[in-house]
Symmetry: C2
Subunit: 449 residues, 2 copies
């Protein structure tokens, strides 16, 4: 079983924002069963395959204090046993249906998903409905799976300098909110996680009234609803959940740096991070403006960072920007740069800063804005050729208090972004005084302080 | 009422370590009442005055998540009302006894203390015993006192760039442990604190079996014990408390900086911080070696930083080091430097780093070691001329799992520190790769990145 938690989280970030096909909009159906389970059906008849996803509205940012990693640990344990599917049998049951399954955990959500032939959807739903409330977790699987997770942490974090740095950047960037804590957990806390911790988290967060099922594929909405009622509909509603109120950030008042020198690093690089609003938090239009700003800087060979630093100045091996507005709480805006050998990180940083300063001072042109918006909308539509991406879009939007209508309206909202909006969000959020910059440097590299 | 929380915390740090008078050792008495209250009596007959301190083994690091500041808020509210001493009457009652009272909160402890004439001690104990369990807290005092605390925060933190920086340095230095959170609390969380939060914290942590009473002065231990039995002895034991197990730090793997440019700063300065063991956590002898290291660097006009940077190179207006090993969990080692006008912060940093590197590479001389140890022990004994300092020493040691015998043995333990011990702790803990450096800079000052 390959559960690429971290890789998939990264994919989520780069895949976003992904919005509806523009013309014609898909006839997306949205039901809520009596036990509170939400169900979204997205027709996609290009191939005889169905993507089935169960989204629990809980993730690592809901880990209790001192139990970092429990949401992710539980994701692993969800493959380890109900009465019907004892440890080790779940994956083969799905394979026998002709399907494949996987799962991932982010700070905000935990998702189990499968691709199956249409005629296996009903059985697949029965399997997911079963493990929604009937997890058994024999004690003997706990120690082994904890070792698997610790090994995953060693491989994906501790043996990768970039991941170590990313963890310590997050722990610096967020001063109070749990986005500061790694999704996989701190090693010393993972080591203490036990069966009771996992079952307690499961009991609190896994229930039909805290879940969203998304089905995308060659299916009929009414038929899917009837199947869902036969499987998910039989699962007893859980207790009402309190509002998802995480710790809030104090005002950022300092610029910070985080530096890792490591023998495994061959080329230096830096990342600059700001806490910015997510779409859910943002004032109207700010999420869209941040998406456009990111595209102006970084989307394609015409983008400002590429043109200025790779093509013209020739000092960057890589230079890019990204905005992740998909979180339940705070968003993040990130710049990344790696100098071309022979140039310095300082020169590249200065040049990237100059690009940001240029937008803040002079704004952007209408022609540039139009080109970027068109490209952003088009690439979003292309991305939806991937059925999992398509389903994921609706999952993200619906678990961050947005609607199916919002998905459909996103292209028009991007079109409404003005050059002044872009300039305004750059000036408001990309302030040097509150940036957190991570430096990943070879051992020999001495950064001038 | 002046409750100098932050100022006193700073005083605690600089006053430590404070150990026993060497010859003759004071005949310190140590009792535990049947309800679990610990009582220490320290004879000090130089003046007809008694210091009376009640130490609760709880502080800001025990604030529940999202309720930062509640330990300190409760400290304020402890002056706001029992049935016997309704709001506003407690201070005048103590004044009528000829006494003065105050209180402070640290991450680990909350202390209420008074100086009174010896014949008022019994009444003073009755007052403290009363508010140990009988706090009433009329709803009408809550909003007003919350405003007082928010105003205190504005005055002591938000209007002082050095305090803002110190807060953000701590939030960066500690990645998981609650020492990352300000004692006074984040403003947005203080705003949400209510009567129930304060009373819940009080009910959990304020009880004879979680308190230590220290009496220093012109008193007889047996008489004090009898008085205590008449007052504290009547207070009902509280529920047993769980072990004080706070979140632990992950390994520090990066060097970090935190920079504040502020128009109110006229002279630049920097502080460099490391998480190091406290005395309670340290392997045998390491706390003492860190104290000696700090003294080698910074204790008096012969110290290395003063001689090298102020006297010889003339580049420092100030340069000093400190070790605070008094915490319940992690200790902290701090370097501080402010360049003389006309020199740069970078030059001073480099020079201070060179002093540290010199100790790591070459160690220290026996003559220097002897001089520093003698001075450290002597200054500690001088500090005990202050009766509050004397009482505070025992309070700190006894609330960090050390004993009265440890206080008495401290000078001998300092004498046992070798030059190699000092070199070893410098090499082990003062690594550039894990330092967190705060820069406090004028607006105009552009630090070369």
């Amino acid at each position: 079983m390959n559960r690429p938690t971290i890789a998939l989280v990264a994919a989520l970030v780069t895949a976003l924002p992904v919005a509806a096909q523009e013309s014609p909009p898909p006839a997306v159906s949205h039901f809520t069963l009596e036990n509170g389970l939400e169900l979204v059906v997205i027709p996609d008849r290009r191939a005889p395959v169905v993507t089935h996803m169960v989204w629990y509205r809980t993730g690592a940012a809901d880990d209790p204090a001192g139990q970092s990693g429990v949401a992710h640990f539980l994701e692993h344990l969800m493959f380890k046993g109900t009465a019907k599917y004892p440890a080790g049998t779940l994956e083969s049951a799905v394979n026998e249906l002709g399907g494949q399954l996987n799962a991932f955990t982010t700070p905000d959500i935990t998702v189990y998903f499968e691709t199956v032939p249409p005629d296996a959807l009903s059985d697949m739903m029965a399997i997911e409905a079963d493990r929604m409330r009937n997890l058994v977790l024999p004690e003997e699987v706990i120690d082994a799976e904890r070792s698997v997770v610790l090994d995953e942490r060693r491989q994906r974090v501790e043996s990768q300098p970039g991941s170590i740095l990313a963890e310590q950047v997050s722990a610096t960037l967020f001063q109070n909110h749990p986005y500061r804590i790694p999704v996989i957990g701190w090693a010393h806390e993972i080591e203490t996680l036990g069966r009771d911790d996992a079952l307690s988290f499961y009991g609190q967060h896994y229930a039909p009234n805290n879940a969203l099922v998304i089905v995308a594929g060659d299916v009929d909405a009414e038929a899917v609803k009837q199947m869902a009622e036969q499987s998910y509909g039989k699962v007893e509603r859980g207790p009402d959940l309190p509002p998802r109120q995480r710790l809030q950030e104090p005002p950022a008042q300092t610029s910070r740096t985080v530096t890792l020198h490591d023998a495994r690093v061959s080329l230096p690089s830096f990342t600059r991070h700001w806490v910015v609003p997510s779409y859910r938090q943002a004032e109207a239009g700010e999420g869209e403006a941040l998406d456009v700003l990111s595209a102006i800087l970084s989307d394609g060979p015409q983008s400002r960072l590429y043109q200025a630093l790779v093509v013209k100045a020739g000092i960057a091996a890589q230079a890019r920007a990204s905005y992740d507005g998909s979180a339940f709480d705070y968003g993040r805006f990130v710049l990344y740069g790696a100098p071309r050998p022979g140039t310095t990180l300082e020169a590249l940083e200065d040049a990237i800063n100059a690009e940001i300063d240029g937008i803040i001072a002079n704004g952007i042109s209408e022609a540039e804005l139009d080109r970027v918006k068109t490209h952003l909308i088009r690439s979003t539509i292309f991305a939806q050729d991937d059925q999992v991406n398509l389903a994921q879009t609706y999952g993200i939007w619906l678990t961050t208090d947005r609607s199916i209508a919002d998905v459909a309206a996103w292209p028009d909202r991007i079109r409404a972004v003005t050059a002044d909006d872009v300039k305004a969000v750059a000036a408001k959020y990309l302030r040097p005084a509150t940036a957190v910059t991570g430096y990943l440097l070879p051992l020999a590299e001495e950064k001038t302080q």
